[in-house]
Symmetry: C2
Subunit: 429 residues, 2 copies
């Protein structure tokens, strides 16, 4: 049994004072407000549940600060992304992902959903172990102290009715059946449809069957061009296509969900499908502002992801959920601080409904955010998500294990790990 204590905490019922957390076997045994610290380890600042990063492409971390020159169009970004994808192998991906996940841990992430599609070697050749890249990600997350939900992604076409290009062949198993066979031999915690662009209609049910009730993620309507092409090809919006093929449902999460019709929003809500918004990516890639509040009102559970990792600050993602709503609607207070916190901690979106709350019985994930920094000093602890950044995260406990303490990751200098993994990828690029 270990014990922690915080002067302030955001519990399921709201803000509380003087809270003791008792932990055994990786779970909270008791969470008790109004207690003295006694012999407990005192945490600084305010205690929050661990953050869920529900949408990650770990290798995109190498693109940060590398795609904005020469005007930095979308095509600059895509060209650079493919440059990195083309250069990775299981060894270099392990190093990059370990560093990227450690950066997430420093930002308070305790669980990550990795939308994994970089499966094969150059030319699309399978590695000796065809799940070698997935295993590298699994090892990386374990090293970094982040709980991984590997979402093994089906990627078969380069667009509606279009073949794969030279880099995209690394993403494909050649057929949905071959993909499902490989997934069955790996250790994925869930699956994904890359998008309606990359998986033909006839193959969608194969992915649903492979999911077998585990989390199923799908990039949905990130840009208007996808919608237009889908309607031209199938006569359906992407959401309507997914609905028709049985892809929507309570274990499904639509990633982005930016450009939706009212009928799309209704379909997502009626089916219990979740939506994972990635605000810092959606602004970086000029996707636009999705209908977050309309989705919430329709009953869609919202989660958050740092996606391409242009920013790894889940507090910023959470704040941006509200800020982008404000920009789009001209109204403040579209979400309450507790609703923002719910999105930030929705581990259910990555198959862990037993995590994300400071409550007895839940997985013992806890983030202590300092309230004495230049960013947070003077704020009401209940509104900490509107002042803090990842740099204010002091302690991160994942499943009862201390991964970050005093703002330091147990692996040491993560900036160094990142530089060592990233800089060689750009050599002579």
């Amino acid at each position: 049994m270990s014990r922690f204590w915080a002067a302030d905490a955001l519990l399921p019922g709201g803000p509380a004072r003087d809270v003791t957390f008792e932990v055994a076997d990786g779970r909270f045994v008791a969470v008790t407000p109004g207690t003295a610290a006694a012999d407990a380890t005192v945490l600084p600042g305010v205690a929050l549940p661990g953050f869920a990063n529900a949408h990650s492409h770990a290798f995109h971390r190498a693109l940060r600060g590398r795609t904005h020159d020469r005007g930095g169009t979308f095509w600059t970004w895509r060209e650079r992304m493919y440059t990195v994808a083309d250069r990775l192998d299981p060894e270099s991906y392990l190093a990059l992902a370990r560093a990227a996940y450690a950066e997430m841990a420093l930002a308070g992430v305790t669980g990550v959903g990795e939308f994994h599609y970089l499966h094969h070697d150059r030319g699309g050749r399978a590695y000796a172990d065809p799940n070698a890249m997935g295993h590298a990600l699994t090892q990386a997350a374990a090293d970094a102290g982040v709980r991984l939900t590997l979402l093994d992604t089906c990627y078969l076409t380069g667009g509606f009715g279009k073949p794969l290009d030279d880099v995209q062949v690394r993403f494909s198993d050649g057929s949905a059946e071959a993909w499902a066979t490989r997934v069955a031999g790996g250790s994925a915690g869930g699956v994904a449809v890359h998008s309606v662009r990359a998986v033909p209609r006839a193959d969608l049910r194969t992915v649903v069957e492979a999911a077998a009730g585990r989390p199923l993620h799908v990039h949905l309507s990130e840009q208007p061009a996808e919608n237009a092409a889908c309607i031209e090809h199938y006569g359906l919006t992407p959401t309507a296509l997914l609905e028709a093929e049985g892809v929507l449902g309570r274990s499904t999460t639509a990633v982005h969900a930016t450009h939706l019709t009212d009928a799309d929003v209704t379909a997502l809500g009626a089916s219990g499908t979740g939506a994972c918004l990635c605000p810092t990516t959606e602004r970086d890639l000029a996707d636009g502002i999705g209908p977050a509040r309309a989705l919430h009102d329709a009953g869609v559970p919202l989660s958050l992801g740092s996606d391409q990792h242009a920013v790894v600050d889940l507090i910023e993602e959470a704040r941006a959920l509200e800020m982008h709503e404000r920009l789009a609607t001209g109204e403040r207070g579209r979400f309450t601080p507790m609703q923002v916190l719910e999105a930030l901690t929705r581990h259910a979106a990555i198959g862990r409904p037993d995590a994300g709350a400071l409550a007895a019985g839940a997985v013992a994930d806890l983030v202590a955010v300092r309230t004495d920094t230049v960013r947070t000093a003077g704020s009401d602890p209940a509104q900490i998500l509107f002042s803090a950044t990842a740099a204010d995260v002091d302690t991160v406990i994942t499943g009862g294990e201390i991964v970050v303490s005093g703002g330091q990751h147990r692996l040491g200098d993560i900036g160094r790990l990142l530089a060592d993994a990233i800089i060689p990828l750009w050599k002579d690029a």
Copy 2:
């Protein structure tokens, strides 16, 4: 003569390597790429010009993380802002502003434009020295090591043809003439029209005359309601009204400039008026996204401000200039990294055209941003504004004087200064 050296620097001509900076009497004597460090003080990371925070209301810092409860509407924000305004006096404002400016220094700000309207005591009574509040701000900036341009603000009415309310009387001198007389007895470096709501048309020329060529700032078209009321009252947009009364011009800066007609944009450009955007405030207050690129294309020099200080991270303001454009237009690369840097360092907007460049003859303002943190590791130094945050600022030199070193401000624990200044303001509020 003092000498500094950085492995990377953003010079007026673009990114450079191995740069030595020679400083004497507060100015750069020489800036020389391709040199060895020799006996110079080695700065970590990449060297940038000092940042200009062209729009500040120092006392709003007390509102951070205090206005988002109960849904946090605009009216929540305004009520809380007036609560703080009502409680300040020259002593407490000195403490608050010193801490707020020190936080800015830590974020790389070397010059600030303080849009100052909290002039008088409760009930509108003048202090024994009628410029006591302005002097407090001047002292605060000197203590914090930030170069202040005090913009003494004329504020006369509570809306178009409306009287002042109980708190607003603290902002008013009763008449434009009385305002000008007080300003003449103070030490302001420039002036401001609070807005076309708060200064009647007949008084605008008095402010222009008092400016006498010094910087003249004005809140412009931050929200659609202001435009509608101005058109109803005067039959003119706010921009057209300012143009008609001679307020526009090369020493004038329009703050926000969010909701403009095409004719407004043309008028601002033709007159050489600048625009100061405050993206983190504009999203927090749900103002909307201003036409930044259209203004730039019309020849309007852009600058940036942290305004209400919900966020004090000028790098985030600079990045948001581009990111909000991306959200509004669906295109990346609306500004190049060097154009973003120009906005971030436009000290000319606050009357210091001799600052804001790493060049011989310029004021010796310099910011060293670390390139080895989890946020910046792996980035191209030329694109540092797309990866760094205020937390990555290591060294800040203002007019040749080292204000921040190793991420520490010369005044010590600024989080503590902020808490000591802010928490008493909310007692029993």
